[in-house]
Subunit: 500 residues, 2 copies
């Protein structure tokens, strides 16, 4: 190990700690801080981001990278990969000129703030000029990163969230699913219409009892409240650090399932954070190889495990007793049907796992067309309608339930949406291999025991950090890179009860 | 204004924001964080401290300071003062060699951790070698700062907390009080023994109701919960920023007065933070001129205002109704006697305002003797006994209730203790002038209205920030620098009912 490389590790360790501090300030902002204090908090977070940016874009760091790369033959495999990931971060940071970054950051804040009223007002006209300005800056950013990374503009944006992500892979995965979905969905909905309709068990569901149940279930997954917290927020998220996981959920006293499924989802994220290699705790190679893999770990717990029949057989009486409930609504049969109910719907965040990819594919196609200059923002509402008809055979009655529903584009997150469905597909692929390699994984879920599943994930996913790419990790764990077959098999089995 | 000065303001603004971020991490650590996560949090805070230290001790900053000082004639009065305070911070940061600072920081952490068990175990022997090592490093630090600041070693330590503080002033104030106290205390205790003994009103005092009362009282002082929080912690403190005050207290369900008085104290700190000049929000000149002044603002609210007969006449029925209380215990007479009860006692933090300065004078004399090399740590327990006998005519039965009771020395805070009593004296001096200049201040307290008092404090103290020294602010507001007369008058009036 060279002195240059060693110094780089020290600097990236500090960058990581600055990021953790900023993350903590954001957690507090969402969970604890009075709303009126947000401008002052924004100043603190901006200062930390600037310090990180200056550290990463300094001449010293560039010199260290070059020197370490010149003597990279002395590094072991993890160090070599770490150095590559350092370089990648450096490219993302330095590719964008400071004035473009400034304009982009300011425009994002402005557009997001306009979006906050445009969405409830169903007012696309007001936000359109902001979106046009923002898209112009996003395209400039994409061009700048495209040159630095040597990939097309859209892939240069995608790379921030899904390193090495390629549109060729996304197109293959998504076109396959788009062709699979319409006839499959028809069959699922037909079959669903023939069986008893699930119903929400009788309440009430007081928040305190919901919280107790959520804690009980998070602990079943492996969450340790001696090194973490669960709090209530408007938008559920998972934050904090491995030694101090902060998960949040939103409670609806009319329906306990949304908070509970939210907690199980965020617990999956937290378990992944906790499971990554301790030796590389503050280094890029100790991070996730991409957000698709991160999402696969939340969907593994929420979709693959917690909505499985095996788990719900165990969980049904636990849920019932949490609310002192009675009646048929608390049967495992009913709760399973409730957890696997499918519907054509307009809103992505409320969608089931069958239709969710359609929402993602739509966004991927539209954002890519906008980045490539093939779709103008003024034509977005119409293009949205067309895609919804094509993918789900429905037409949103307004933009509020169409192209205004998500914050992402208005907040500057372009190239992010695909990771949701990459995660869903990776989760299915990993879960199928896990179940095959250890029979006790599914049996464990049937007794509320996630230890066998988590043991497998630790070894095959968590512990690898970003030592390999997502596709490489999948190949090692499942024998092949990401493909849509396991996800489709999972859906067929769960929704059509076809044996795998 | 020179470009150099302007660049300095930008850098100190960033330093201030880093400090705020670290403060927020500490607040979370005390209030929200699971205990087991403290090592990881420590890494984050250390990283921010190191960044601040490097920023402040960089060659660039030294050059900017020198250049701005060369053209200081273009600066206005606030800027001139700001530049002086920047230089002072620079001196404190750069005076101590990095290896000494490292050794000091590590030794503090170690000694504090030993102290956490040595205190309950009443085991001075175990901590003695640690204290000896620590004192050695404190003395080295004092010597280094002494040369840089051009003042004697003890004053160089004091200067960190009380800029410009002089032992000549402390000796004069404290010797005067040490002479005043014994006969005065005898008279107070005699008089107290002749009147009905106060008693705690009948409970119960559930935590939720205590919290409601604390909020009600903090709001009466002027605290705005739209830009602040009140939480429960082991050790009450005031944190956060002007736009987001975070005060904490500790609830005892057997006695509501400790939490309430704690909240009133911390509210005084918070109101001072909120009242400082917005134009200098992130600059040294917008800060406090010293911790004595800061403490004066908490003691103003807690001791001068909230333990006054006028305020308690208004507050007694509010407190009673907060607990649906009944009986004589809730009379203003009883509650006032309770809030002004005096006793000789061993523990500083439990002491009343009459005997509190004795605890501080003792610590000041002993820490100064240790810094000057006139007292060895091994002789500390005996010296403590001697001073307690001399000042309060009592002998602590063990070191747990003697020289092991406070964290300060074991945590590296030498030169800090005097600020408590400087604050008490300044509070009395300011309050006497305030009452004289606006008759509605005392009348306001009688109707639970702190607006007149806070208006006077805003103008005469808060808004001045660190534009002037503590003594200069006192001179402008009261006609003279700090002296003990107002405090003694206050005590005579309150405890002997002598007319002023």
């Amino acid at each position: 190990m060279s002195a240059h490389y060693q110094e780089l590790e020290a600097r990236f360790r500090r960058l990581s700690l600055i990021g953790e501090a900023a993350g903590m300030l954001r957690w507090d902002m969402s969970v604890m801080m009075p709303d009126k204090s947000s401008a002052a908090r924004g100043e603190q977070i901006t200062a930390l981001k600037l310090i990180a940016h200056e550290t990463l874009s300094s001449n010293e760091l560039a010199d260290l990278l070059a020197a370490a790369e010149d003597t990279a033959d002395v590094l072991d495999d993890w160090q070599t990969r770490n150095l590559q990931l350092m370089r990648r971060r450096w490219v993302h940071t330095t590719a964008v000129p400071a004035d473009l970054l400034d304009a982009f950051t300011r425009t994002c804040m402005q557009t997001e703030s306009v979006w906050r009223t445009a969405r409830p007002d169903n007012d696309f006209g007001t936000i359109l000029p902001h979106l046009e300005t923002l898209l112009g800056l996003v395209r400039e950013t994409a061009t700048a990163k495209s040159e630095a990374l040597g990939v097309p503009p859209y892939e240069a944006l995608l790379d921030l969230y899904e390193p090495g992500g390629r549109t060729a892979q996304l197109d293959a995965l998504f076109d396959d699913y788009a062709a699979f979905l319409p006839p499959f969905l028809d069959r699922v909905l037909e079959r669903q219409s023939l069986r008893p309709q699930p119903r929400l068990p009788d309440g009430p569901f007081p928040q305190g009892r919901q919280e107790d149940l959520c804690r009980r279930m998070a602990e079943a997954v492996g969450f340790d409240f001696a090194t973490g917290r669960l709090d209530a927020t408007l938008h559920p998220f998972s934050g904090g650090i491995p030694e101090d996981s902060r998960i949040t959920t939103r409670y609806d006293e009319a329906d306990f399932t949304s908070a509970l499924m939210g907690v199980l989802h965020e617990t999956g994220h937290a378990m992944y954070e906790r499971g990554r290699p301790a030796d590389w705790r503050y280094q890029p190679v100790g991070d996730t190889p991409g957000l698709g893999m991160h999402e696969s770990q939340s969907l593994m717990v929420e979709m693959q495990a917690s909505r499985s029949r095996a788990f719900l057989d165990w969980a049904a009486p636990v849920m019932q007793s949490a609310f002192d409930g009675s009646g048929e609504g608390w049967s495992a049969d009913n709760l399973y049907r409730l957890a696997t109910q499918v519907a054509r719907s307009f809103i992505r965040v409320d969608a089931d796992e069958v239709t969710y990819p359609a929402h993602v594919i739509l966004r991927y196609r539209l954002e890519r067309a906008m980045i490539d200059g093939d779709l103008q923002p003024k034509d977005l509402p119409g293009a949205w309608q067309d895609q919804m008809k094509q993918l789900l055979a429905i037409s949103p009655p307004d933009d509020r339930r169409g192209c205004l529903q998500d914050i992402h584009w208005y907040d500057g997150a372009w190239g992010y949406f695909p990771t949701y469905s990459l995660g869903a597909m990776a989760a299915a692929q990993l879960f199928a291999s896990a179940r095959k390699s250890d029979k006790d994984i599914e049996a464990g879920l049937g007794r509320g025991d996630f230890v066998p599943l988590m043991r497998w994930l630790r070894t095959n996913v968590h512990n690898l950090g970003a030592r390999f790419t997502t596709n490489e990790i999948l190949e090692r764990a499942t024998g092949r890179p990401l493909d849509p077959s396991a996800f489709k098999e999972h859906l067929k089995t769960r929704y059509l009860e076809e044996a795998q």
